[in-house]
Amino acid sequence: MLADEETNQVCTYLRERFGVPQEEVSRRYCLLARKRTVWALSREVRDPADLATLKIVSAGIPFLRKVQRWWKPTTSCLRILSPWIRFNRVLLSRGEAWRLLREGRLSLTPDSQVSDGYVLVETPEGVLGCGLLLKGTLHNQIPKHEVQNTLRGMETQHSEPPDL
């Protein structure tokens, strides 16, 4: 379990950076620490204590990582918190989303609702993941291997079935 002080730090960061009400995080998720990563497990997990002696490989999903002194939200964190994220959201068209994935960065027109730092990147269909906005350029923070898997062969996604 994450110590109370660190739990407060996480909740404060998510409130100040994204507007997520503190109680939404503490009410929904049990935060666990492993090395420099904070994991989120549902609070509704029944009797987690009696499972503590299981040899657990992982619990829940990676939520935030400590990068030097700063917190970095994961893509999965921003996806599950998206209903409560009120600011620092960047809406892209599908074309812009593909460009961000292909090129790793995208120039944006200034938006007063978004400040430099980590942002939630979304399309009209759903949340793409985490991005880093620096001086008008959005940098992709979605895990590289996931992006590469998606990009590999995307040109063939509509091929017709073979004529047998």
Partner: protein, 311 residues
């Protein structure tokens, strides 16, 4: 081009699957249904997605979709080759899954208050489906003995936003008995015959015949899964093979050893009843309640499942 009528590879496919001629109704229709690829299907992940919005987005990209008997989460996309390359897949809004693979969780019927063990979990199709059915509540222990498959399992849990799951790495047949679950899913390693397809010249495709006998491991896994159930709990045993020795015979073994009862599966999906005898072996009468899924009645892979209660 070879003449399909005389190709030795055609004989090979028929030779291999022909042993099931007597138990598969409309065997000719069955063989015909195996031609071509397994139709692409996917599940909309309602933990992150609004199904209407996702379906509209896919259709607006010119992807023809068909509804399925598995309900509003499961869709067929017959012309789609690689759903993994869609933006919707990267965003965790859809999960590529065969229709057959969607059936065991539906039969187990997870509820938000359940404590569930998925004994052979990777790559996580059924785990993530159960998490979705539980609205990310309750608890799932997703067990996978092969360490090399943890990354795929954890990657899928992350991508789909599943937060009610612990991953463990025990050999399923040795999963510690200190814990009890009210539901267990045991989708065992099997010979995989249900993935077999017939190629353009009648050759067997998508499946490599194996000499390995899986039934011993399958019996050990099913007995342990049963022993991990609370009294009154239920489990679903499933395979993707036609072989009765990996299906009915395994469940019959459990029925002889433990106070187990085969339950009806209250789903409205085309299927055939389980067998009560095969090649001189006789199985418990209640195995009629088990389900055999054939590709000519459901456009998917061949499958078997039985729902079992602990009396």
């Amino acid at each position: 081009m070879k003449d399909p009528g005389t190709s030795p590879s055609l004989v090979q496919a028929l030779d291999f699957l022909g042993v099931y001629r007597d138990i598969i109704p409309d065997f000719r229709g069955f063989m015909e249904a195996l031609r071509g690829e397994i139709p692409t299907s996917f599940r909309v992940n309602t933990l992150l997605a609004d199904p209407d919005k996702v379906i509209k987005a896919l259709e607006s990209q010119g992807i023809p979709l068909q509804a399925t008997p598995l309900g509003e989460w499961f869709w067929l996309a017959p012309t789609l080759r690689s759903p993994g390359h869609l933006l919707e897949h990267l965003m965790g809004l859809i999960y590529t899954q065969t229709l057959s693979s969607g059936l065991p969780p539906l039969a187990l019927d997870p509820a938000p208050t359940d404590r569930i063990l998925d004994l052979c979990a990777a790559p996580g199709s059924k785990t993530t489906q159960m998490a979705q059915m539980m609205a990310n509540r309750g608890l799932i222990v997703a067990n996978e003995p092969v360490q090399g498959r943890h990354a795929a399992l954890e990657g899928n849990l992350r991508r789909l936003g599943v937060v009610n799951t612990l991953v463990t790495g025990y050999h399923g047949q040795n999963f510690p008995l200190r814990w009890r679950f009210n539901k267990v899913l045991v989708d065992v390693p099997c010979s995989g015959e249900g993935n077999a397809r017939v190629g353009p010249w009648g050759e067997l495709r998508g499946f490599r015949p194996m000499r390995r006998d899986f039934s011993r491991l399958q019996k050990a896994l099913l007995v342990r899964a049963f022993d991990l159930l609370e009294e009154g709990g239920s489990l679903v045993y499933s395979t993707c093979t036609y072989n009765p020795r990996e299906n009915e015979a395994v469940v019959d073994h459990l029925l002889r050893l433990r106070p187990a009862e085969v339950l009806p599966i209250p789903l409205d999906v085309p299927h055939e009843a389980g067998l009560t005898h095969w090649r001189g072996e006789t199985y418990h009468e209640s195995l009629r309640l088990a389900w055999r899924i054939y590709p000519h009645s459901l456009p998917s892979v061949g499958f078997f499942m039985a729902k079992i209660a602990r009396r």
